[in-house]
């Protein structure tokens, strides 16, 4: 085959695509340190926009910490609930199974904004309003459709013999799950966990409504505060710096876990 001749257009095409997909991120990074009127970096290149961010209200680390707590709790809750739920849906027959599964998927179909007011009232009744735990519980709920679906197909892809061997060895179903199956569905767990992390880290409107204490707000709300100035004017420097600060941990984590994340999809029964 005349490989190179055939390959050149391919490389040009795919290279161009890579540039298109990466360009906005590089542009935001560049722009956040370049001079721009109406920002904290008016003259010359520098970190003016990041300094504004760093010194915002309680200081950026407080917001990073809050975001880490919320994201961490959401990941833990999501993994725990969907691991058990996925196991139940994949391996057990019980009354109401299909209804519960459909209800879980239906979470995807309700406009987000509508649920927030009832959730606010509900968390208030439970004494969880204005608490990072309450916020994580709500974010977990929004993760459940994807997480449960993903874990269900992950469990379904595990050979039944694996579990049965453990059961024959005298394990209960719980021990079979914890000792044997968890390892088999690990890629699925990574995928679900990463998804939950990204969603919780980036979410903006839920904490905005559910958290009233400045010192408990997560990062995206703080960044949204920096963006808007008087009369609806937007500070592009702060916006771009904010996008970079929000995106960087996600991108790093994503690249680190990419292999397992992809394998999570592969291991599922999604195969055609």
């Amino acid at each position: 085959m005349p490989k190179l001749a055939l390959r050149t257009p391919y490389y040009v095409l795919t290279g161009g695509l890579a540039v298109i997909f990466l360009f906005p991120l590089f542009w935001a990074g560049l722009r956040s340190v370049s001079p721009q009127a109406g920002t904290a970096q008016v003259h010359g290149w520098g970190l003016g926009n990041y300094q504004t961010l760093a010194h915002y209200q309680s200081g950026i680390w407080q917001y990073v910490l809050n975001s880490c707590i919320v994201s961490g709790l959401t990941v833990v809750f999501t993994l725990a609930v969907s691991l058990l739920g996925g196991y139940a849906f994949a391996r057990f027959a019980f009354p109401g199974k299909n209804l519960l599964f459909m209800l879980t998927l239906a979470i995807l179909m309700v406009p987000y904004a509508t649920l927030l007011i009832p959730l606010y009232v509900l968390l208030d009744r439970l004494g969880l309003q204005n608490s990072l735990v309450g916020l994580s519980l709500v974010l977990t709920m929004f993760q459940l459709p994807f997480a449960t679906f993903m874990m269900r197909i992950s469990f379904e892809a595990v050979p039944r013999e694996l579990e049965e061997a453990a059961l024959v060895d005298g394990c209960g179903t719980l021990r079979a799950l914890l000792l044997v199956l968890v390892r088999a569905v690990q890629p699925g767990l990574v995928t679900v966990g990463l998804f939950a992390f990204l969603a919780a880290w980036n979410d903006f409107i839920t904490p905005l409504v559910l958290i009233s204490d400045s010192s408990k707000l997560p990062l995206p709300v703080a960044i949204a505060n920096l963006r808007a100035q008087v009369m609806g004017v937007i500070d592009y420097g702060a916006t771009e710096a904010g996008v970079v600060v929000l995106a960087l941990p996600c991108i790093v984590l994503f690249i680190l876990l990419q292999r397992q994340y992809v394998r999570g999809f592969m291991s599922g029964a999604l195969k055609g």
Binding site: T14, L17, L246, L270, G272
Partner: protein, 301 residues
């Protein structure tokens, strides 16, 4: 989806009980944080319920008639459907194209996959803000680039006309989501055994024929899943329009969820109306998705 096999051996009751125990956390979450709020939304939808003054008693079916009678209701429905069709077609098409381009496992395709996937690590709100800056005539790079290249003489109106605003938003969504859908389809593509293609090649099938008669049918379940997810996501589109266009210019990019948001928080302060609209959307999505599932199942059998 819903692949069920009967468990061998009749552990029966204990097994059912165990199933329930494992499903309990899911059930608790779904009931407490979804079903209960949803019931309250339902109650709001049949009540005169203001954002600031709360429940003023039942008024059914006033909220529903008021929702449909709004001047902007049908234009919003039309735009949302239009946006959904355009986005779904382009996004699923792009994702399939990308998946086929990066099918082999080489260093280069590995890099490509990462490049396409990285935007999906951003939140939709962050991505929308980023594109808002990109599209801004004052701050964005495109205007200057295009002026340099002589393509355009004045500032480029990315969000200025209804058509531009729609396509600019679709571009953002493709950028943000193409990687995710590409991955779903890539997994499906790699599940097709090589022998199938080889056999087809022996039979003299061309590239296009192989694509139409082998690839597409074999990855149909994944294509359908992508379509369902994309249709549902697009019908509920909010963040991207809230940040990029605010429904403008001249209400041409107002989606149904923006209408809900406006009813509740931007001026009308009417939770009852917002809840009624939400119920209408939920019902439409349920019908649509059940239809899609049925269609999928029907074809499978």
């Amino acid at each position: 989806m819903g692949r069920q096999r009967r468990h061998p051996g009749g552990l029966g009751r204990r097994r059912r009980l165990a199933g329930w125990v494992y499903a309990t956390p899911t059930a608790a979450f779904v009931l407490l944080f979804f079903v209960v709020p949803l019931l309250l939304v339902t109650q709001m939808s049949v009540s005169d319920w203001g954002l600031f003054n709360g429940d003023q008693g039942l008024n059914a079916p006033h909220n529903f008639t008021a929702a449909v009678d709004q001047d902007l209701f049908w234009p919003a429905v039309r735009f949302t459907v239009e946006y959904t069709v355009v986005t779904t077609a382009i996004l699923v098409g792009c994702a399939l194209g990308l998946a086929m381009l990066v099918q082999e496992s080489t260093r280069w395709t590995g890099f490509l996959r990462t490049a396409v996937l990285v935007p999906s690590a951003l939140g939709l709100a962050s991505a929308s803000l980023l594109f808002y800056a990109l599209y801004s005539p004052g701050s964005g790079p495109f205007g200057q680039i295009m002026q340099h290249l002589g393509i355009s003489s004045g500032p480029v109106e990315f969000l200025g006309t209804p058509g531009h605003a729609l396509w600019s938003t679709v571009a953002l969504i493709v950028w943000r989501y193409a990687g995710f859908y590409m991955l779903l389809l890539l997994v499906a593509l790699q599940g097709i055994p090589a022998e199938v293609y080889e056999a087809a090649e022996v039979d003299g099938a061309g590239r296009w024929q192989r694509f139409v008669h082998i690839t597409v049918p074999l990855i149909r379940p994944s294509l359908a899943l992508c379509t369902i997810l994309c249709v549902t996501g697009s019908l509920l589109a909010f963040d991207q329009f809230y940040i990029l266009t605010k429904g403008g210019p001249d209400n041409s990019t107002l989606t149904i969820v923006q209408l809900i948001y406006n009813a509740a928080f931007a001026g009308r302060d009417d939770l009852g109306l917002a809840a009624a609209l939400s119920i209408i959307v939920l019902a439409a999505l349920l019908v649509l998705n059940i239809g899609q599932f049925r269609w999928l199942r029907g074809k499978e059998n």
